[in-house]
Amino acid sequence: MTAVAAGPVAVRRQPDASPTKFLRETWLVFARQMLIVRRTPIRLVIGIAQPIAYLLLFAPLLKPALASVGARTTADAYRIYVPGLLVILVLLSSLFTGFSLLAELRAGIIERARVTPVSRFALLLGRALSEVATLMGQALLITVLAIPFGLSVRIGPLLLAYVLLIVMGLLAASLSYAIALLIKSPAALGPLINTFAQPLALLSGVLLPLTLAPHWLIAVARWNPFYWSTNATRALFGGSVSDPAVWKGMLLMVVLLVPVMWWSVRLFAKRVR
Protein backbone atom coordinates (compact mmCIF):
# COMPACT_ATOMS: atom_id res chain seq x y z
CA MET A 1 0.00 0.00 0.00
CA THR A 2 1.24 3.51 -0.73
CA ALA A 3 2.15 5.85 2.06
CA VAL A 4 -0.67 8.07 3.20
CA ALA A 5 -0.64 11.59 4.46
CA ALA A 6 -0.97 11.49 8.21
CA GLY A 7 -3.86 13.55 9.42
CA PRO A 8 -6.72 13.33 11.86
CA VAL A 9 -9.26 12.43 9.17
CA ALA A 10 -7.47 11.32 6.03
CA VAL A 11 -10.45 11.29 3.71
CA ARG A 12 -9.59 10.23 0.14
CA ARG A 13 -6.39 8.43 0.93
CA GLN A 14 -6.26 7.00 -2.58
CA PRO A 15 -7.78 8.71 -5.55
CA ASP A 16 -10.87 6.81 -6.63
CA ALA A 17 -9.92 6.68 -10.28
CA SER A 18 -6.22 5.93 -10.64
CA PRO A 19 -5.38 3.80 -13.70
CA THR A 20 -3.34 1.27 -11.70
CA LYS A 21 -6.18 0.78 -9.23
CA PHE A 22 -8.56 0.27 -12.13
CA LEU A 23 -6.30 -2.23 -13.92
CA ARG A 24 -5.67 -4.15 -10.73
CA GLU A 25 -9.39 -4.39 -9.97
CA THR A 26 -10.27 -5.40 -13.52
CA TRP A 27 -7.65 -8.13 -13.20
CA LEU A 28 -9.10 -9.31 -9.86
CA VAL A 29 -12.58 -9.60 -11.34
CA PHE A 30 -11.25 -11.23 -14.52
CA ALA A 31 -9.17 -13.78 -12.57
CA ARG A 32 -12.14 -14.71 -10.38
CA GLN A 33 -14.41 -15.21 -13.40
CA MET A 34 -11.76 -17.33 -15.13
CA LEU A 35 -11.48 -19.46 -11.99
CA ILE A 36 -15.22 -20.13 -12.15
CA VAL A 37 -14.90 -21.01 -15.86
CA ARG A 38 -12.13 -23.51 -15.02
CA ARG A 39 -14.25 -25.04 -12.27
CA THR A 40 -17.24 -25.56 -14.59
CA PRO A 41 -15.71 -27.08 -17.73
CA ILE A 42 -19.10 -28.37 -18.81
CA ARG A 43 -20.08 -24.86 -19.86
CA LEU A 44 -17.07 -24.75 -22.19
CA VAL A 45 -18.06 -28.06 -23.75
CA ILE A 46 -21.63 -26.91 -24.33
CA GLY A 47 -20.43 -23.62 -25.80
CA ILE A 48 -18.15 -25.21 -28.34
CA ALA A 49 -20.15 -28.32 -29.28
CA GLN A 50 -22.30 -26.51 -31.83
CA PRO A 51 -19.52 -24.73 -33.75
CA ILE A 52 -17.56 -28.00 -33.92
CA ALA A 53 -20.60 -29.82 -35.25
CA TYR A 54 -20.95 -27.19 -37.97
CA LEU A 55 -17.26 -27.40 -38.75
CA LEU A 56 -17.34 -31.20 -39.10
CA LEU A 57 -20.81 -31.83 -40.51
CA PHE A 58 -21.67 -28.75 -42.53
CA ALA A 59 -18.42 -27.24 -43.80
CA PRO A 60 -17.54 -30.23 -46.09
CA LEU A 61 -20.58 -29.32 -48.23
CA LEU A 62 -19.17 -25.91 -48.92
CA LYS A 63 -16.69 -26.34 -51.75
CA PRO A 64 -19.33 -26.85 -54.42
CA ALA A 65 -21.73 -24.38 -52.76
CA LEU A 66 -19.16 -21.59 -52.62
CA ALA A 67 -17.79 -22.20 -56.12
CA SER A 68 -19.74 -19.18 -57.37
CA VAL A 69 -17.84 -16.82 -55.01
CA GLY A 70 -14.51 -18.12 -56.16
CA ALA A 71 -13.88 -21.09 -53.91
CA ARG A 72 -11.92 -23.45 -56.12
CA THR A 73 -10.47 -25.60 -53.35
CA THR A 74 -11.58 -26.88 -49.95
CA ALA A 75 -9.04 -24.49 -48.43
CA ASP A 76 -10.83 -21.58 -50.12
CA ALA A 77 -14.17 -22.77 -48.80
CA TYR A 78 -12.83 -23.00 -45.24
CA ARG A 79 -11.20 -19.60 -45.55
CA ILE A 80 -14.66 -18.21 -46.24
CA TYR A 81 -16.61 -20.34 -43.79
CA VAL A 82 -14.39 -20.51 -40.65
CA PRO A 83 -14.27 -16.74 -40.02
CA GLY A 84 -18.07 -16.67 -40.28
CA LEU A 85 -18.29 -19.50 -37.79
CA LEU A 86 -16.02 -17.63 -35.36
CA VAL A 87 -18.12 -14.48 -35.70
CA ILE A 88 -21.27 -16.48 -34.86
CA LEU A 89 -19.55 -18.03 -31.87
CA VAL A 90 -18.34 -14.69 -30.51
CA LEU A 91 -21.45 -12.72 -31.38
CA LEU A 92 -24.09 -15.10 -30.07
CA SER A 93 -22.23 -16.15 -26.90
CA SER A 94 -21.42 -12.55 -26.02
CA LEU A 95 -24.95 -11.38 -26.68
CA PHE A 96 -26.21 -13.94 -24.17
CA THR A 97 -23.73 -13.04 -21.45
CA GLY A 98 -26.26 -10.67 -19.89
CA PHE A 99 -27.85 -13.78 -18.43
CA SER A 100 -24.88 -14.55 -16.22
CA LEU A 101 -24.86 -10.93 -15.06
CA LEU A 102 -28.50 -11.23 -14.00
CA ALA A 103 -27.76 -14.52 -12.23
CA GLU A 104 -24.87 -12.97 -10.31
CA LEU A 105 -26.98 -9.96 -9.41
CA ARG A 106 -29.66 -12.25 -8.10
CA ALA A 107 -27.18 -14.25 -6.04
CA GLY A 108 -25.92 -11.08 -4.35
CA ILE A 109 -22.36 -11.60 -5.61
CA ILE A 110 -22.25 -8.26 -7.38
CA GLU A 111 -23.96 -6.48 -4.51
CA ARG A 112 -21.22 -7.62 -2.17
CA ALA A 113 -18.61 -6.23 -4.53
CA ARG A 114 -20.46 -2.94 -4.84
CA VAL A 115 -19.99 -2.22 -1.14
CA THR A 116 -16.21 -2.31 -1.64
CA PRO A 117 -14.15 0.50 -3.17
CA VAL A 118 -13.83 -1.49 -6.42
CA SER A 119 -14.63 0.53 -9.53
CA ARG A 120 -18.00 -0.27 -11.11
CA PHE A 121 -16.40 -0.20 -14.53
CA ALA A 122 -13.87 -2.83 -13.40
CA LEU A 123 -16.69 -5.08 -12.16
CA LEU A 124 -18.27 -5.02 -15.61
CA LEU A 125 -15.12 -4.98 -17.77
CA GLY A 126 -13.47 -7.85 -15.86
CA ARG A 127 -16.56 -9.96 -16.52
CA ALA A 128 -16.76 -9.03 -20.21
CA LEU A 129 -13.05 -9.79 -20.65
CA SER A 130 -13.34 -13.21 -19.05
CA GLU A 131 -16.26 -13.98 -21.36
CA VAL A 132 -14.22 -12.90 -24.38
CA ALA A 133 -11.08 -14.74 -23.21
CA THR A 134 -13.07 -17.97 -22.96
CA LEU A 135 -14.44 -17.39 -26.46
CA MET A 136 -10.97 -16.76 -27.85
CA GLY A 137 -9.83 -20.09 -26.46
CA GLN A 138 -12.73 -21.73 -28.26
CA ALA A 139 -12.00 -19.76 -31.44
CA LEU A 140 -8.40 -20.95 -31.38
CA LEU A 141 -9.54 -24.54 -31.01
CA ILE A 142 -11.89 -24.23 -34.00
CA THR A 143 -9.15 -22.66 -36.11
CA VAL A 144 -6.75 -25.48 -35.25
CA LEU A 145 -9.40 -28.14 -35.96
CA ALA A 146 -10.03 -26.60 -39.38
CA ILE A 147 -6.40 -26.94 -40.44
CA PRO A 148 -6.58 -30.71 -41.21
CA PHE A 149 -9.51 -29.91 -43.52
CA GLY A 150 -7.27 -27.68 -45.55
CA LEU A 151 -7.58 -24.27 -43.89
CA SER A 152 -4.39 -22.31 -44.29
CA VAL A 153 -3.86 -18.87 -42.81
CA ARG A 154 -0.97 -16.48 -42.29
CA ILE A 155 -0.17 -15.85 -38.67
CA GLY A 156 -0.06 -12.02 -38.83
CA PRO A 157 -3.51 -11.51 -40.37
CA LEU A 158 -4.87 -14.29 -38.15
CA LEU A 159 -3.75 -12.48 -34.99
CA LEU A 160 -5.32 -9.29 -36.30
CA ALA A 161 -8.54 -11.23 -36.93
CA TYR A 162 -8.48 -12.37 -33.31
CA VAL A 163 -8.06 -8.78 -32.13
CA LEU A 164 -11.10 -7.87 -34.21
CA LEU A 165 -13.05 -10.75 -32.69
CA ILE A 166 -12.09 -9.56 -29.19
CA VAL A 167 -13.43 -6.08 -29.92
CA MET A 168 -16.61 -7.59 -31.39
CA GLY A 169 -17.02 -9.75 -28.31
CA LEU A 170 -16.60 -6.78 -25.95
CA LEU A 171 -19.08 -4.77 -27.98
CA ALA A 172 -21.68 -7.55 -27.99
CA ALA A 173 -21.14 -8.30 -24.29
CA SER A 174 -21.55 -4.61 -23.34
CA LEU A 175 -24.71 -4.47 -25.42
CA SER A 176 -26.00 -7.58 -23.69
CA TYR A 177 -25.22 -6.16 -20.22
CA ALA A 178 -27.04 -2.95 -21.07
CA ILE A 179 -30.11 -4.80 -22.32
CA ALA A 180 -30.08 -7.15 -19.33
CA LEU A 181 -29.93 -4.17 -16.96
CA LEU A 182 -32.85 -2.54 -18.74
CA ILE A 183 -34.99 -5.69 -18.90
CA LYS A 184 -33.91 -7.25 -15.58
CA SER A 185 -35.94 -10.40 -16.17
CA PRO A 186 -34.11 -13.51 -17.38
CA ALA A 187 -37.41 -14.88 -18.71
CA ALA A 188 -37.85 -11.88 -21.01
CA LEU A 189 -34.17 -11.52 -21.88
CA GLY A 190 -33.87 -14.84 -23.76
CA PRO A 191 -36.60 -14.30 -26.35
CA LEU A 192 -35.61 -10.65 -26.77
CA ILE A 193 -31.96 -11.39 -27.51
CA ASN A 194 -32.91 -14.28 -29.76
CA THR A 195 -35.21 -12.00 -31.71
CA PHE A 196 -32.50 -9.61 -32.72
CA ALA A 197 -29.40 -11.83 -32.48
CA GLN A 198 -30.50 -14.19 -35.26
CA PRO A 199 -31.22 -11.51 -37.90
CA LEU A 200 -28.09 -9.65 -36.79
CA ALA A 201 -26.00 -12.76 -37.41
CA LEU A 202 -27.70 -13.64 -40.68
CA LEU A 203 -27.37 -10.05 -41.91
CA SER A 204 -23.64 -10.25 -41.24
CA GLY A 205 -23.33 -13.04 -43.79
CA VAL A 206 -21.86 -15.43 -41.28
CA LEU A 207 -23.14 -18.59 -42.96
CA LEU A 208 -22.63 -17.59 -46.58
CA PRO A 209 -21.05 -14.33 -47.71
CA LEU A 210 -23.60 -11.70 -48.65
CA THR A 211 -21.93 -11.26 -52.02
CA LEU A 212 -24.36 -14.02 -52.97
CA ALA A 213 -27.30 -11.94 -51.75
CA PRO A 214 -29.75 -9.89 -53.83
CA HIS A 215 -29.22 -6.13 -53.82
CA TRP A 216 -31.98 -5.29 -51.36
CA LEU A 217 -30.51 -7.71 -48.79
CA ILE A 218 -27.07 -6.18 -49.14
CA ALA A 219 -28.63 -2.72 -48.80
CA VAL A 220 -30.18 -3.77 -45.49
CA ALA A 221 -27.01 -5.52 -44.32
CA ARG A 222 -24.94 -2.37 -44.82
CA TRP A 223 -26.74 -0.91 -41.80
CA ASN A 224 -25.55 -3.80 -39.64
CA PRO A 225 -22.16 -3.04 -38.05
CA PHE A 226 -21.38 -6.73 -37.75
CA TYR A 227 -21.70 -7.08 -41.55
CA TRP A 228 -18.63 -4.86 -41.83
CA SER A 229 -16.71 -6.65 -39.13
CA THR A 230 -17.53 -10.05 -40.66
CA ASN A 231 -16.21 -8.85 -44.01
CA ALA A 232 -13.07 -7.64 -42.27
CA THR A 233 -12.59 -10.99 -40.51
CA ARG A 234 -12.97 -12.83 -43.85
CA ALA A 235 -10.49 -10.54 -45.54
CA LEU A 236 -7.98 -11.22 -42.75
CA PHE A 237 -8.48 -14.99 -43.03
CA GLY A 238 -7.88 -14.51 -46.76
CA GLY A 239 -4.52 -13.01 -45.76
CA SER A 240 -5.00 -9.48 -47.07
CA VAL A 241 -4.38 -6.91 -44.36
CA SER A 242 -4.49 -4.12 -46.92
CA ASP A 243 -8.06 -4.87 -48.01
CA PRO A 244 -10.14 -1.72 -47.24
CA ALA A 245 -12.73 -3.99 -45.60
CA VAL A 246 -10.21 -4.56 -42.78
CA TRP A 247 -9.78 -0.99 -41.58
CA LYS A 248 -13.44 -0.21 -42.13
CA GLY A 249 -14.59 -3.12 -39.98
CA MET A 250 -11.97 -2.45 -37.29
CA LEU A 251 -12.69 1.26 -37.07
CA LEU A 252 -16.44 0.74 -36.92
CA MET A 253 -16.15 -1.77 -34.06
CA VAL A 254 -13.84 0.43 -31.99
CA VAL A 255 -15.96 3.53 -32.61
CA LEU A 256 -19.08 1.66 -31.47
CA LEU A 257 -17.42 -0.06 -28.52
CA VAL A 258 -16.71 3.20 -26.69
CA PRO A 259 -20.27 4.57 -26.39
CA VAL A 260 -21.90 1.16 -25.89
CA MET A 261 -19.51 0.29 -23.07
CA TRP A 262 -20.03 3.71 -21.52
CA TRP A 263 -23.81 3.19 -21.73
CA SER A 264 -23.67 -0.21 -20.05
CA VAL A 265 -21.39 1.01 -17.25
CA ARG A 266 -23.69 3.94 -16.65
CA LEU A 267 -26.71 1.67 -16.46
CA PHE A 268 -24.79 -0.64 -14.16
CA ALA A 269 -23.94 2.20 -11.79
CA LYS A 270 -27.43 3.69 -11.83
CA ARG A 271 -29.85 0.87 -12.33
CA VAL A 272 -28.58 -1.90 -10.13
CA ARG A 273 -30.48 -2.07 -6.89
Binding site: M1, R12, R32, L35, E111, V115, T116, P117
Partner: protein, 338 residues
Protein backbone atom coordinates in the same frame (compact mmCIF):
# COMPACT_ATOMS: atom_id res chain seq x y z
CA UNK B 1 -8.93 6.20 17.07
CA UNK B 2 -9.28 9.91 17.69
CA UNK B 3 -7.79 11.13 20.92
CA UNK B 4 -10.32 11.87 23.61
CA UNK B 5 -9.56 15.18 25.21
CA UNK B 6 -11.06 15.77 28.64
CA UNK B 7 -14.12 17.90 28.05
CA UNK B 8 -16.03 20.06 30.50
CA UNK B 9 -19.29 18.53 31.70
CA UNK B 10 -21.33 21.05 29.74
CA UNK B 11 -19.88 19.66 26.53
CA UNK B 12 -20.91 16.06 27.15
CA UNK B 13 -23.53 15.98 24.35
CA UNK B 14 -20.92 17.22 21.88
CA UNK B 15 -18.69 14.37 22.97
CA UNK B 16 -21.49 11.94 22.20
CA UNK B 17 -22.00 13.31 18.72
CA UNK B 18 -18.27 12.91 18.12
CA UNK B 19 -18.74 9.23 18.90
CA UNK B 20 -21.69 8.95 16.55
CA UNK B 21 -20.96 6.24 13.99
CA UNK B 22 -24.23 6.49 12.09
CA UNK B 23 -26.00 9.84 11.99
CA UNK B 24 -29.06 10.15 9.81
CA UNK B 25 -31.19 13.27 9.39
CA UNK B 26 -34.28 13.49 7.23
CA UNK B 27 -33.28 10.62 4.95
CA UNK B 28 -35.84 10.07 2.19
CA UNK B 29 -36.40 7.71 -0.71
CA UNK B 30 -39.34 7.21 -3.01
CA UNK B 31 -39.78 4.84 -5.89
CA UNK B 32 -41.88 5.18 -8.98
CA UNK B 33 -43.77 2.02 -9.73
CA UNK B 34 -46.01 1.26 -12.64
CA UNK B 35 -49.40 0.22 -11.44
CA UNK B 36 -52.10 -0.47 -14.02
CA UNK B 37 -50.26 1.65 -16.62
CA UNK B 38 -50.09 4.59 -14.27
CA UNK B 39 -46.85 5.69 -12.72
CA UNK B 40 -47.27 5.93 -8.98
CA UNK B 41 -44.72 7.33 -6.57
CA UNK B 42 -44.29 5.29 -3.41
CA UNK B 43 -42.58 6.86 -0.41
CA UNK B 44 -40.47 4.02 0.91
CA UNK B 45 -38.63 6.07 3.53
CA UNK B 46 -40.19 9.38 4.61
CA UNK B 47 -37.49 11.45 6.24
CA UNK B 48 -36.04 9.45 9.11
CA UNK B 49 -33.55 10.39 11.83
CA UNK B 50 -31.24 7.89 13.49
CA UNK B 51 -28.21 8.06 15.70
CA UNK B 52 -25.97 5.10 16.48
CA UNK B 53 -22.97 5.45 18.74
CA UNK B 54 -19.63 3.69 18.60
CA UNK B 55 -19.72 0.12 19.85
CA UNK B 56 -23.51 -0.23 19.82
CA UNK B 57 -25.49 -3.07 18.35
CA UNK B 58 -28.41 -1.21 16.86
CA UNK B 59 -31.51 -3.11 15.78
CA UNK B 60 -33.77 -1.86 13.02
CA UNK B 61 -37.18 -3.50 13.24
CA UNK B 62 -40.15 -3.38 10.98
CA UNK B 63 -42.61 -5.50 9.08
CA UNK B 64 -41.86 -6.38 5.46
CA UNK B 65 -42.18 -3.38 3.20
CA UNK B 66 -41.79 -0.88 6.04
CA UNK B 67 -38.62 0.67 4.59
CA UNK B 68 -36.06 -1.37 6.52
CA UNK B 69 -34.10 -2.69 3.58
CA UNK B 70 -34.39 0.55 1.62
CA UNK B 71 -32.85 2.40 4.57
CA UNK B 72 -30.04 -0.11 4.88
CA UNK B 73 -29.33 0.00 1.15
CA UNK B 74 -29.10 3.79 1.30
CA UNK B 75 -26.72 3.67 4.26
CA UNK B 76 -24.50 1.13 2.50
CA UNK B 77 -24.22 3.27 -0.69
CA UNK B 78 -26.19 0.77 -2.79
CA UNK B 79 -28.94 3.25 -3.64
CA UNK B 80 -28.91 7.01 -3.63
CA UNK B 81 -31.19 8.85 -1.21
CA UNK B 82 -33.62 11.41 -2.60
CA UNK B 83 -33.04 13.75 0.28
CA UNK B 84 -31.66 14.18 3.75
CA UNK B 85 -28.18 13.64 5.13
CA UNK B 86 -26.20 10.84 6.63
CA UNK B 87 -22.77 10.49 8.14
CA UNK B 88 -21.28 7.01 8.37
CA UNK B 89 -18.10 6.54 10.41
CA UNK B 90 -17.49 10.26 10.18
CA UNK B 91 -17.84 10.45 6.39
CA UNK B 92 -20.61 12.20 4.49
CA UNK B 93 -22.59 9.47 2.74
CA UNK B 94 -23.74 11.59 -0.16
CA UNK B 95 -20.50 13.44 -0.84
CA UNK B 96 -18.05 10.57 -0.44
CA UNK B 97 -19.77 7.21 -0.95
CA UNK B 98 -16.45 5.70 -2.04
CA UNK B 99 -14.88 6.61 1.27
CA UNK B 100 -17.88 5.22 3.16
CA UNK B 101 -17.35 1.88 1.35
CA UNK B 102 -13.83 1.65 2.76
CA UNK B 103 -15.13 1.99 6.30
CA UNK B 104 -18.18 -0.24 6.32
CA UNK B 105 -18.91 -3.91 5.93
CA UNK B 106 -22.19 -5.15 4.54
CA UNK B 107 -23.77 -8.58 4.69
CA UNK B 108 -26.89 -8.94 2.58
CA UNK B 109 -29.75 -11.16 3.67
CA UNK B 110 -29.03 -13.69 0.96
CA UNK B 111 -25.28 -13.55 1.46
CA UNK B 112 -23.45 -13.58 -1.84
CA UNK B 113 -20.95 -16.38 -2.16
CA UNK B 114 -20.11 -18.13 -5.41
CA UNK B 115 -20.87 -21.84 -5.37
CA UNK B 116 -17.84 -22.87 -7.43
CA UNK B 117 -15.13 -21.36 -5.24
CA UNK B 118 -13.97 -22.11 -1.70
CA UNK B 119 -14.62 -20.03 1.39
CA UNK B 120 -10.95 -19.15 1.60
CA UNK B 121 -10.84 -18.01 -2.03
CA UNK B 122 -13.87 -15.79 -1.40
CA UNK B 123 -12.21 -14.24 1.66
CA UNK B 124 -8.93 -13.60 -0.17
CA UNK B 125 -10.75 -11.97 -3.09
CA UNK B 126 -12.86 -9.82 -0.77
CA UNK B 127 -9.73 -8.62 1.05
CA UNK B 128 -8.04 -7.86 -2.26
CA UNK B 129 -11.09 -5.93 -3.46
CA UNK B 130 -10.56 -3.79 -0.39
CA UNK B 131 -7.08 -3.00 -1.71
CA UNK B 132 -4.90 -5.45 0.20
CA UNK B 133 -1.96 -7.20 -1.44
CA UNK B 134 -2.01 -10.97 -1.90
CA UNK B 135 0.09 -11.86 1.16
CA UNK B 136 -1.86 -9.55 3.44
CA UNK B 137 -5.17 -10.79 2.02
CA UNK B 138 -4.19 -14.41 2.64
CA UNK B 139 -3.09 -13.66 6.18
CA UNK B 140 -6.40 -11.91 6.90
CA UNK B 141 -8.41 -14.69 5.29
CA UNK B 142 -6.73 -17.33 7.48
CA UNK B 143 -7.25 -15.20 10.59
CA UNK B 144 -10.94 -14.77 9.71
CA UNK B 145 -11.35 -18.48 9.04
CA UNK B 146 -9.99 -19.34 12.44
CA UNK B 147 -11.92 -16.56 14.22
CA UNK B 148 -15.18 -17.80 12.74
CA UNK B 149 -14.26 -21.43 13.33
CA UNK B 150 -14.26 -22.19 9.62
CA UNK B 151 -10.72 -23.48 9.11
CA UNK B 152 -12.01 -27.02 8.71
CA UNK B 153 -14.16 -26.00 5.73
CA UNK B 154 -11.77 -23.43 4.25
CA UNK B 155 -10.90 -25.54 1.21
CA UNK B 156 -14.40 -26.72 0.43
CA UNK B 157 -16.56 -25.11 -2.22
CA UNK B 158 -19.24 -22.73 -0.93
CA UNK B 159 -21.92 -24.90 -2.53
CA UNK B 160 -21.22 -27.60 0.08
CA UNK B 161 -21.70 -25.40 3.16
CA UNK B 162 -24.64 -25.71 5.53
CA UNK B 163 -26.83 -22.68 6.20
CA UNK B 164 -25.00 -21.81 9.40
CA UNK B 165 -21.52 -22.26 7.88
CA UNK B 166 -22.47 -20.14 4.89
CA UNK B 167 -23.77 -17.41 7.17
CA UNK B 168 -20.50 -17.36 9.09
CA UNK B 169 -18.60 -17.08 5.80
CA UNK B 170 -20.89 -14.19 4.82
CA UNK B 171 -20.16 -12.36 8.05
CA UNK B 172 -16.44 -13.11 7.81
CA UNK B 173 -16.53 -11.58 4.29
CA UNK B 174 -18.26 -8.50 5.69
CA UNK B 175 -15.55 -7.89 8.31
CA UNK B 176 -12.41 -9.03 6.45
CA UNK B 177 -11.18 -5.42 6.16
CA UNK B 178 -11.95 -4.62 9.80
CA UNK B 179 -14.67 -2.04 9.11
CA UNK B 180 -15.70 0.60 11.61
CA UNK B 181 -19.39 -0.06 11.04
CA UNK B 182 -20.94 -3.38 10.06
CA UNK B 183 -24.37 -3.61 8.43
CA UNK B 184 -26.20 -6.93 8.66
CA UNK B 185 -29.47 -7.47 6.84
CA UNK B 186 -31.53 -10.14 8.64
CA UNK B 187 -28.41 -11.97 9.85
CA UNK B 188 -30.19 -15.03 11.21
CA UNK B 189 -33.11 -15.36 8.80
CA UNK B 190 -33.85 -19.02 8.06
CA UNK B 191 -31.25 -20.37 10.48
CA UNK B 192 -31.96 -23.06 13.04
CA UNK B 193 -31.88 -21.98 16.71
CA UNK B 194 -28.36 -23.33 17.32
CA UNK B 195 -26.86 -21.56 14.32
CA UNK B 196 -28.74 -18.43 15.33
CA UNK B 197 -27.22 -18.45 18.82
CA UNK B 198 -23.83 -18.98 17.21
CA UNK B 199 -24.27 -15.97 14.93
CA UNK B 200 -25.38 -13.86 17.92
CA UNK B 201 -22.16 -14.82 19.70
CA UNK B 202 -20.12 -13.80 16.67
CA UNK B 203 -21.87 -10.43 16.51
CA UNK B 204 -21.29 -9.81 20.22
CA UNK B 205 -17.62 -10.71 19.77
CA UNK B 206 -17.30 -8.14 16.96
CA UNK B 207 -18.86 -5.50 19.18
CA UNK B 208 -16.39 -6.34 21.95
CA UNK B 209 -13.64 -5.55 19.45
CA UNK B 210 -15.11 -2.07 19.09
CA UNK B 211 -17.19 -2.53 15.95
CA UNK B 212 -20.50 -0.73 15.59
CA UNK B 213 -23.18 -3.08 14.31
CA UNK B 214 -26.42 -2.12 12.57
CA UNK B 215 -28.81 -5.01 12.00
CA UNK B 216 -32.25 -5.30 10.53
CA UNK B 217 -34.40 -8.06 11.86
CA UNK B 218 -37.96 -9.07 12.22
CA UNK B 219 -37.23 -11.47 15.06
CA UNK B 220 -38.25 -9.72 18.28
CA UNK B 221 -36.34 -12.13 20.46
CA UNK B 222 -33.24 -11.32 18.40
CA UNK B 223 -33.70 -7.59 18.91
CA UNK B 224 -34.34 -8.15 22.60
CA UNK B 225 -31.40 -10.48 23.21
CA UNK B 226 -28.80 -8.90 20.98
CA UNK B 227 -29.44 -5.20 20.53
CA UNK B 228 -28.41 -2.36 22.80
CA UNK B 229 -30.90 -0.06 21.16
CA UNK B 230 -33.61 -0.48 18.58
CA UNK B 231 -35.72 1.62 16.27
CA UNK B 232 -39.04 0.52 14.83
CA UNK B 233 -39.89 1.63 11.30
CA UNK B 234 -43.38 1.45 9.88
CA UNK B 235 -44.67 2.91 6.61
CA UNK B 236 -41.32 4.59 6.11
CA UNK B 237 -41.27 6.41 9.42
CA UNK B 238 -39.57 5.74 12.73
CA UNK B 239 -42.34 5.10 15.24
CA UNK B 240 -40.22 4.23 18.27
CA UNK B 241 -36.59 4.33 19.34
CA UNK B 242 -34.79 3.37 22.53
CA UNK B 243 -33.35 0.45 24.46
CA UNK B 244 -35.59 -2.63 24.47
CA UNK B 245 -36.33 -2.00 28.16
CA UNK B 246 -37.14 1.68 27.62
CA UNK B 247 -39.55 0.81 24.85
CA UNK B 248 -41.27 -1.83 26.93
CA UNK B 249 -41.65 0.69 29.74
CA UNK B 250 -42.77 3.42 27.42
CA UNK B 251 -45.91 1.69 26.23
CA UNK B 252 -46.82 0.85 29.80
CA UNK B 253 -45.04 -0.38 32.87
CA UNK B 254 -46.70 -3.77 33.18
CA UNK B 255 -49.48 -5.89 31.83
CA UNK B 256 -52.05 -7.43 34.18
CA UNK B 257 -54.18 -10.24 32.80
CA UNK B 258 -57.51 -10.92 34.49
CA UNK B 259 -59.56 -14.01 33.66
CA UNK B 260 -63.29 -13.27 33.47
CA UNK B 261 -66.23 -15.53 32.79
CA UNK B 262 -67.96 -14.12 30.88
CA UNK B 263 -65.97 -11.17 29.49
CA UNK B 264 -68.76 -8.65 29.88
CA UNK B 265 -68.48 -5.25 28.16
CA UNK B 266 -69.60 -3.61 31.39
CA UNK B 267 -66.70 -5.11 33.30
CA UNK B 268 -64.20 -4.13 30.63
CA UNK B 269 -65.54 -0.57 30.73
CA UNK B 270 -65.39 -0.54 34.52
CA UNK B 271 -61.73 -1.62 34.52
CA UNK B 272 -60.89 0.84 31.76
CA UNK B 273 -62.20 3.72 33.88
CA UNK B 274 -59.83 2.99 36.75
CA UNK B 275 -57.23 5.78 37.08
CA UNK B 276 -54.39 3.24 37.43
CA UNK B 277 -55.23 1.54 34.10
CA UNK B 278 -53.93 3.22 30.96
CA UNK B 279 -55.31 0.82 28.35
CA UNK B 280 -57.60 -2.22 28.17
CA UNK B 281 -57.68 -5.03 25.65
CA UNK B 282 -59.57 -8.28 25.51
CA UNK B 283 -58.03 -11.56 24.40
CA UNK B 284 -59.79 -14.46 22.77
CA UNK B 285 -58.80 -16.74 25.66
CA UNK B 286 -61.22 -15.17 28.17
CA UNK B 287 -58.72 -12.70 29.60
CA UNK B 288 -58.79 -8.94 29.89
CA UNK B 289 -55.39 -7.35 29.32
CA UNK B 290 -54.76 -4.23 31.39
CA UNK B 291 -51.80 -1.97 30.69
CA UNK B 292 -50.77 -0.32 33.95
CA UNK B 293 -47.81 1.88 34.93
CA UNK B 294 -47.10 -0.18 38.04
CA UNK B 295 -48.63 -3.58 38.71
CA UNK B 296 -47.94 -3.44 42.45
CA UNK B 297 -50.16 -0.39 42.86
CA UNK B 298 -52.74 -1.39 40.32
CA UNK B 299 -53.59 -4.95 41.36
CA UNK B 300 -55.21 -4.07 44.75
CA UNK B 301 -57.35 -1.42 43.07
CA UNK B 302 -58.36 -3.80 40.29
CA UNK B 303 -59.40 -6.40 42.87
CA UNK B 304 -61.32 -3.86 44.90
CA UNK B 305 -63.18 -2.63 41.80
CA UNK B 306 -64.10 -6.16 40.74
CA UNK B 307 -65.27 -7.00 44.27
CA UNK B 308 -67.27 -3.80 44.51
CA UNK B 309 -69.12 -4.66 41.29
CA UNK B 310 -69.55 -8.27 42.46
CA UNK B 311 -67.81 -9.64 39.34
CA UNK B 312 -66.57 -13.24 39.41
CA UNK B 313 -63.03 -13.65 38.20
CA UNK B 314 -60.58 -16.48 37.75
CA UNK B 315 -56.79 -16.19 37.53
CA UNK B 316 -54.82 -12.98 37.70
CA UNK B 317 -51.52 -13.00 35.80
CA UNK B 318 -48.73 -10.49 35.66
CA UNK B 319 -46.84 -10.04 32.40
CA UNK B 320 -43.87 -7.94 31.47
CA UNK B 321 -44.68 -6.42 28.09
CA UNK B 322 -42.72 -7.98 25.27
CA UNK B 323 -41.27 -6.17 22.29
CA UNK B 324 -44.21 -7.55 20.39
CA UNK B 325 -46.50 -5.55 22.68
CA UNK B 326 -44.40 -2.50 21.85
CA UNK B 327 -44.71 -3.30 18.21
CA UNK B 328 -48.44 -3.81 18.49
CA UNK B 329 -48.89 -0.55 20.36
CA UNK B 330 -46.76 1.42 17.88
CA UNK B 331 -47.87 -0.03 14.58
CA UNK B 332 -51.27 -1.52 15.34
CA UNK B 333 -50.02 -4.90 14.09
CA UNK B 334 -48.24 -7.81 15.60
CA UNK B 335 -44.87 -8.44 14.00
CA UNK B 336 -45.56 -12.15 14.13
CA UNK B 337 -48.37 -11.71 11.62
CA UNK B 338 -46.13 -10.21 8.98
Amino acid sequence: MTSTRPAPASQQPVQQVADEMIGVRGLRKSYTVKHKRKTVSVDAVRGIDLSVRRGEIFGFLGPNGAGKTTTMRMLTTLIEPDGGEATIAGVDLRRAPGEVRRRIGYVAQGGGTTDEVTGREELVLQARMHGMGRAEAERRADAALSAFDLTEYAGRKCATYSGGQRRRVDIALGVIHDPTVLFLDEPTASLDPQSRARVWDEIRRLRENGMTVFITTHYLEEADALCDRIAIIDHGEIVAEGTPDQLKHEISGDVVMVELDPVADQTVALLGELPVVSQVDTTDTGFVRLYVPDAGLAIPQILRALDGAAVEFGKIELQRPSLDDVFLAKTGRSLRES
